[in-house]
Subunit: 327 residues, 2 copies
DNA sequence: TCAGGGGCTGCAACCGGTTGCATGAAACAT
DNA sequence: ATGTTTCATGCAACCGGTTGCAGCCCCTGA
């Protein structure tokens, strides 16, 4: 069995409280005593039990991070950034995957609630109502979802959509398709609203589409039929699937049709042609989420809303509009 | 503040121990009493505090899962499988990313030690010596690394390499390059040993290479110069990079050179040509890791070694050897 | 010489649960 | 009517730490 604080106390001839203070408030204990205790502790391989400590202090120094699908390449950069940022502040991050299942998500939150000081909810699948209810059990920071009264981080996909469309119109494209995402998606709604508000462009909305390669493949026929020369896809996976589908039908990218994705995932860089994409500030979001959470511990309830800018990465899947578009 | 067991006891007029038993040993409490307690608990929103429970029982019902790099597409399927499998057994999985840093890895293990019942170490970067030392603090299951006296899961990449090479020779390829991985990699050594033991094939070993797209790009020139018609790459990222590099130099895949990758990551399926690859049993490994860990709880120390088979997924990056190879 | 004060340590209650043991009542057997 | 089980519950110690309070020692200043 691992050594406890009492083992150390006994072996070094002091009271447990002195051992405790040696670790949690060293300045309160005499240097000589402290060194002796530390030596004994080292010797016995003692390490404070964080769970037990949390019981009295109410602080676990752990943060939970919940994502819908860890295999979605969008998340890892956010996770890594949050993890590194938290570490530097003496917090640890536990990641859990809900497998896109709201039921599992709720259960995970319940489980985590008592083992962490707060939870970062990334693109949650739960309804706002449930989130608000669970908020009574543990502090949240919500990423990519608007929930009133809670610290929130949004990535400005509307602005990203504008950048993408400006890029396309700048290349001479006039008729542009927007491949929307799943019907309930907040992101998709934002993109659509932003795109619809722009002028100098004929917008064709196609969808909803599954947010996967398959979704892109399936919509290829429709894209060709719509007579557009430029496409803004819901995300990179859809864009890659679309390019594949177009290719199978003898339509070349970017020669015949230009395609822009969203998320700037690694696979987009490996694709041929390399994908032009709206890069999301995922790492920044991860760091900021940690900051907002820690901040909410200190200062009581100060729900903040942070909106982060996106930017466009131009690669090979976009080019000047063909002079005589098919269609 | 969240309701505690004492709040529930007070409100339902029973002793705390009865409330405790209502949740942890329901058969010991009278049905009527139990229902009353449950109703009150529901009413107060009470949930047992797992951390506190762990303090006395010594069981947290949590499992730690440590990976070097969560953004490596090899890991997510393993993580998801482990998570789902554990959930079905009333365990929860916390994932942590070490960022490829052994220092961080050790620290994470220390932190997790008291908050989980055991840790799954996936492709650890720590030395065996350190792993053995840490083993005193918390049970391990090691994946893709051989550590004596510890439950271990290995994926049989040697067998995978044989499958790949048989596939290539079956297509008429005689001269084949093996792009090895980082010099310390266990996987790379296994592949090389297996390949070297096969006959009917002229093997050219090129490397070590960085296990990334860049590594594949960089070795393209050498591959062309070596006069091979078939290539087995250390992993899919290297394979994709290589194909890119060959393409830039006017060498077509699979027409001129056939390429096989390892890992069967999603990006390989999105690549053009779609990558033929040795699929690793990652999901099975995740499930089995959980099983071995739970098993080690029950039956004391019974370190097991499980070796899992790989299989070959043939797609578009391999074809018959050209009759007159360049070179 | 003595009051006052600071530094260090011990005491004991507490965090939120679990569990071995004792107790009491009801049910059963004789 | 008495002894024996069985069932349900209460009691209290315990898990591994933290922390407010009190006490002791020693130094300082008047």
């Amino acid at each position: 069995m691992a050594a406890t604080i009492r083992d150390v106390a006994r072996a070094s001839g002091v009271h447990v409280s002195t051992v405790s203070r040696t670790f949690s408030a060293p300045h309160l204990v005499n240097a000589e005593t402290r060194n002796r205790v530390l030596a004994v502790a080292e010797d016995l391989g003692y390490r404070p039990n964080r769970a037990a400590r949390a019981l009295t202090t109410g602080r676990t120094h752990n943060i939970g991070l919940i994502v819908a699908d860890i295999s979605n390449p969008f998340f890892p950069p956010l996770i890594k950034a949050a993890q590194a940022h938290a570490r530097a502040r003496d917090y640890h991050v536990f990641v859990a995957d809900t497998d896109e299942d709201p039921q599992v998500e709720e259960e995970l939150i319940q489980t985590l609630a008592k083992q962490v000081d707060g939870v970062l909810l990334c693109s949650p699948r739960l309804s706002n109502r449930v989130i608000e209810r669970l908020h009574a059990e543990v502090p949240f920071v919500v990423v990519n979802r608007r929930v009133k009264g809670m610290p929130t981080i949004l990535m400005d996909v509307g602005q990203g959509a504008r950048l993408a469309i400006e890029h396309l119109t700048g290349l001479g494209h006039r008729r542009i398709a927007l491949l929307s995402g799943p019907s309930g998606s907040w992101t998709s709604g934002e993109m659509r609203a932003a795109a619809a508000a722009m002028d100098g462009v004929e917008l064709v909305i196609l969808g909803p589409n599954a947010p996967t390669e398959r979704g892109g493949l399936a919509v290829a026929e429709e894209v060709i039929a719509s007579g557009v020369t430029g496409v803004l896809a819901y995300n990179d996976l859809v864009a890659i699937g679309l390019i594949e589908g177009l290719y199978e039908r003898g339509v070349r990218v970017p020669d015949d049709i230009s395609v822009v994705g969203v998320d700037d995932i690694v696979a987009g860089r490996l694709n041929r042609p390399k994908l032009t994409s709206v890069a999301m500030p995922t790492a920044a979001a991860g760091r900021m989420a940690v900051d907002l959470l820690l901040q909410s511990f200190d200062e009581g309830a100060t729900p903040t809303l942070a909106t982060l800018d996106t930017h466009l990465v131009v690669r090979e899947s976009t080019d000047r509009a063909a002079l005589f578009p098919r269609g």
